[in-house]
Amino acid sequence: MSEATMTSAPVARATNAAPSKPVTPMSERKPFPLRTVAGMMVLLVLIALPLLAGGYWTFTLGLCFANAIAILSVSFLVRYGGEVSIGHGVFVAAGAYTVALMEKYLGVSVLAALPFAAVAGALLGIAFAYPSRNLSGIYLAVATMALALALPELLLYFSSITGGYEGLYVKRDALPGISRDLQRYYVPLAGLVVVALLLRQFRRSRQALALLLIRTSAPAAESFGVRRSWARLSCMALSAGIAAIGGALLAFSSSTVSPNSFTLWTSIFLLVGSVVSLYSLGMFGSLIGGIFLTLMPLLLAGAGDWVPILYGGALLLVVLGANLMPESWRARLGGGRA
């Protein structure tokens, strides 16, 4: 609900920890009712939309919501960890395959599988982050790139379980009694709202403060007893868990998972979406990224080869544009928020 979380280049602040003007924490500021009202209105429009629009649009928007959650996870890592990942498609895949496999072998629906997907993603995040816990920015980026490239190989090798190239289907209804089209719209929407609200709560927690302290100055944080490797592990676990939730809902609303949808490009596109949303941790910022990622290729139907150029151009425009913004704007947009 908070467009206030939109920020320019927080990565810039990650590496050069220049002291900025002290800003009143959000929690002490008076809530801005107009913004909350506007947020509720947009949410109501989104809830009412399927009554007006056809099945195609509800389907596509469902994908947008799921992608927005995945984008939130990338932004989370950038905001709280000061790290860039080009391997988040792997954690998204972990969530998606958990849902698909649990349906195939245990016959449970996405709602029952969702917590397991989140845990599976978080565990994978820890398993990956542990060997790389002492790595700084670029090393982690290269390692995540290798992770993204290794995933399709592993998925294809275990094809007896993962369904190989064909992938798996996710057919089971989450909520009985509601038409399938509407479920594929409302479940990801609810997921996005919940994740955004949880992130908003998280901002006020001790854990969030510890992560932000580590990001600003690791030696200072260590002298307060916050270990850097521990911060990296927890940050990666949370981010991967969110990515896995996004993946689970993505599998549900697209009703299929296959190695083709989790290549290196998936991960790079997620980063593009995160940059386009200006690393927002709010619902609408991430939704802008998700809509950009999902709808742009569809709007430019038949423009297959233009998609990388479009994404690359958007990436450059946003990154350079944010850089051109006057420092005062950036400070205001960045605020005291993570």
Binding site: I138, Y139, V142, A150, E153, P308, I309, G312
Partner: protein, 292 residues
């Protein structure tokens, strides 16, 4: 066990190419702290340009002429891509690294747009010659790769150790601030490293083509191996890049022969994680503590 010499030999040949790719990445990183994720895509674009100029898509030239035109184009492309990210370079390493991903996406898109996503084959003008020594099969291609790599590395060494611009490059990579105080233009050094990296990438991309086929993604996936080589060698060491390249080439060949061939990228992931865990700054990097 009889094949092992042959495997090592073939691994060294492909390792030379990884080394050339890694050298380009390291050159850029050393001077500007930017990890150029567009390196593979730009090199792939360059290889496609040579293909286009010789195969009649963009023109019908002799090999040498096509190479010269492509060199000139690559010169311009690398200069443009540097100037695109130049405003970010001094602000944040990670932001400028993200920007290189954007450049890579655009390069990939242009390659697909102009040349399609089909696989093409590009023949290098090499004599058909080969010899057998024990289990080692040495072909003209292998000799050409070794020769070209040695020549490129030698030229790069001379360029960096013996010329004024090389001294400036070393000064900037050792201490950018002091270099600027002394009146060096950091931007010019960055541009120098981008252009040289682009030319190294072109050479590497052209030499890879005979072993795989040329497709709009083949060169960029090859670049993961160059990244792994750079990581193994320590991201900021030029000799490390060469050592890492040859090491990765040999290791990948042995693993895919003795273990399983379909896990190339998984091996690279394991090698990267393992190296960074044991040698956090790479095998050949200078050790040093952080000052608080």
């Amino acid at each position: 066990m009889a094949d092992i010499l042959g495997l090592i030999w073939a691994g060294m040949v492909s390792g030379c190419l990884y080394a050339l790719g890694a050298l380009g990445i390291v050159l850029i990183y050393k001077s500007s702290n930017v990890v150029n994720f567009a390196h593979g895509n730009l090199a792939g674009l360059a290889a496609f340009l040579v293909f286009g100029f010789t195969a009649g898509i963009l023109g019908n030239m002799a090999w040498g002429a096509a190479l010269m035109v492509t060199l000139a184009i690559m010169f311009a492309v690398m200069a443009v891509s540097y100037f695109v990210i130049a405003p970010l370079v001094f602000k944040s390493d990670l932001t400028s690294t993200i920007a290189t991903l954007g450049i890579g996406l655009i390069a990939q898109g242009i390659t697909q747009l102009v040349f399609g996503s089909n696989v093409v084959s590009l023949d290098l003008p090499l004599p058909k010659w080969s010899a057998q020594i024990g289990s080692m099969r040495i072909s003209a291609y292998d000799v050409a790769v070794l020769f070209v790599t040695a020549a490129s590395v030698g030229l790069l060494y001379l360029l960096i150790e013996r010329t004024r611009v090389g001294i400036a490059f070393r000064a900037v990579s050792a201490n950018p601030f002091a270099s600027r105080v002394c009146g060096l233009s950091l931007r010019r050094i960055h541009l120098f490293s981008f252009v040289v990296a682009g030319l190294l990438g072109l050479v590497a991309a052209l030499l890879i083509v005979p072993t795989t086929f040329l497709s709009s993604t083949s060169v960029s996936s090859f670049m993961l191996q160059a990244f792994a080589a750079a990581v193994v060698g320590g991201f900021s060491s030029l000799p490390g890049a060469v050592v890492g390249g040859v090491f990765i080439g040999v290791l990948m060949n042995l693993l895919s022969f003795y273990v399983a061939a379909e896990f190339t990228n998984t091996y690279l992931l394991a090698v990267i994680l393992l190296t960074l865990n044991v040698f956090p700054k790479g095998v050949l990097a200078r050790r040093g503590g952080a000052r608080v």
